[in-house]
């Protein structure tokens, strides 16, 4: 087999658990290649946030090996490099936007990467323009709407020019219009990403393949396959749910 694509993330039997509770991640194997756009269906409590935080080195797994950009990562020092190259969008934008104004918040990452003030401001303006929020530079972050906060949070990550994006529920709590904007932005990106969500329609629009994260395991197609189909029955026009799904 000819290997054409670089491995970005490789998790080998990674486990994470709190004492006396079911494991959050249970000997998880996962490989993520360059140029992949993966959607991950993940119900509440499935370990999705833990999964991302382990990749970013924010928490340490109990056991297992992690390789990122084809290098084993274990210590805090190894993860500094990871955090430069992988961007994580948090589920709650209020966790991410801590600066008083939008421009300062977006410039925070580039400044930490060693850019000068002028470069950081220039990058921030360009990122705002890309995201479609021109003129938001001096807006106060805590006064933004939920959708605007999510877009600005995405901009703070994109401003660092990451090679990979990890997005934790980017569509949660957003209206259709903002969701569409996020979809358009993600589809226009030329970088690899993993999106966790529990909205199938949203995932199917932005990803090439969809996996399921359930009870600490990633299920491949052979075990479970999420699909969409059309069917008809009486009262089908009303919103409803089916059992045994």
């Amino acid at each position: 087999m000819i290997k054409t694509k670089k491995t970005i993330i490789n998790l080998d039997k990674v486990s994470f658990f709190y004492p006396d509770r079911l494991p959050i991640l249970d000997r998880l194997d996962f490989t993520f290649y360059q140029d992949e756009k993966i959607g991950m269906m993940a119900p509440n409590g499935s370990g999705k946030t833990t999964f991302f935080h382990i990749i970013m080195g924010l928490i340490k797994p109990e056991s297992g090996k992690i390789e990122i950009f084809e290098k084993p990562v274990t210590r805090e020092k190894d993860f500094l490099e990871v955090r430069r190259r992988i961007g994580l969008l948090f589920q709650d934008s209020d966790d991410q936007l801590f600066n008083p104004t939008v421009l300062e918040d977006i410039a925070f990452g580039p400044l930490n990467l060693g850019k000068t003030k002028e470069e950081a401001i220039e990058i921030s303006r360009k990122t705002l323009e890309f995201i479609g929020l021109n003129g938001f530079e001096n807006r106060i972050t805590y006064k933004l709407s939920g959708g605007e906060k999510k877009l600005v949070a995405l901009a703070t990550i994109l401003a660092m020019e990451p090679e990979v994006l990890l997005l934790d529920e980017p569509s949660a709590g957003l209206d259709e219009k903002t969701k569409e904007r996020i979809t358009t932005i993600l589809r226009s990106l030329k970088i690899s990403y993993i999106v966790v969500s529990h909205e199938f329609d949203f995932l199917s629009e932005i990803s090439d393949s969809i996996y399921t994260l359930d009870r600490g395991k990633i299920l491949s197609d052979a075990e479970m396959y999420i699909h969409q189909h059309y069917h008809a029955h009486p009262y089908g026009g009303r919103p409803h749910k089916h059992k045994n799904e």
């Binding site: 801590f98 600066n99 008083p100 925070f108 990452g109």
Partner: protein, 256 residues
């Protein structure tokens, strides 16, 4: 209700357009001098200057009065207690109570000082956004830890307030009515407790998000303040005012 109200921050008066650093320094020096002054001439002049600054900043008089009302409760308390409890020359008697002259003077001083200082702060420091105030402080080489404590407080106080609001609504819809009983105290104690717990886990997540963006303990500010002729003029004016009230206060100590 919002805890942070930047009502005076937006405006186009001369004072709004002065370099925030100059305003912060002026406010600090001016208020310290007023706070330690004892002469009535000084305090009355200080009151006059503070009031002029408020006018110059074009602040809404109604809003200014609303804010002054905050200290009026304290002042009333002082006027009721201090003149009666001081020893010295008696001014007059109300029934069994003697009103003492030094007490009346002290109350008058406290009133003049607090009203003038509050007005000066409204005109000088409230006429900029809180984030600008933070940057001005950082430019003035005030400890970075203090400045960022201040900045993150103004950012997250709104979030914590929203959380508090949600908790209040949650207990209201379940029929909670506050009263003077154990149940009420316990409920409020739980709410305060949970707010602390949430604030603490929020702080953890914010710190994680900052680390993800390459934070290594150093904050870098992108703010630059522009120089302008009016800054020089305003500085000179403030220096003259400060010299003037200093002479009123301490001039008699200098022998020519």
């Amino acid at each position: 209700m919002t805890l942070i109200n930047e009502h005076f921050a937006s405006g186009s008066s001369v004072i709004h357009r002065i370099d925030p650093r100059i305003k912060v320094i002026s406010a600090a020096v001016f208020t310290i001098i007023l706070a330690i002054s004892q002469q009535f001439e000084t305090l009355i002049a200080g009151f006059f200057f503070s009031f002029s600054l408020v006018l110059l900043a074009g602040l809404n008089v109604k809003e200014v009065l609303k804010r002054l009302f905050v200290i009026i409760g304290f002042l009333i308390l002082i006027w009721v207690i201090v003149p009666l409890t001081f020893e010295g020359e008696q001014l007059f008697k109300i029934g069994p109570f003697s009103v003492m002259k030094p007490g009346v003077f002290l109350s008058a001083r406290i009133t003049l000082k607090s009203v003038s200082i509050l007005m000066a702060l409204m005109a000088l420091t409230a006429t900029m956004a809180l984030s600008t105030l933070g940057h001005a402080m950082s430019r003035l080489k005030i400890s970075g830890k203090l400045v960022h404590l201040f900045m993150i407080t103004i950012r997250y106080i709104a979030v914590i307030e929203q959380e508090y609001g949600r908790l209040l609504r949650a207990i209201k819809i379940r029929g909670f009515k506050p009263g003077t009983n154990m149940h009420t105290y316990r409920t409020f104690a739980y709410i305060i407790g949970i707010l602390f717990v949430r604030a603490s886990s929020r702080a953890d997540r914010v710190y994680q998000a900052m680390r993800c963006r390459g934070f290594d303990g150093r904050f870098i500010s992108i703010h630059e303040f522009q120089t302008h002729k009016r800054n020089g003029v305003f500085s000179a004016l403030m220096i003259l005012i400060i010299i003037f009230i200093s002479i009123l206060e301490w001039g008699h100590l200098i022998e020519f």
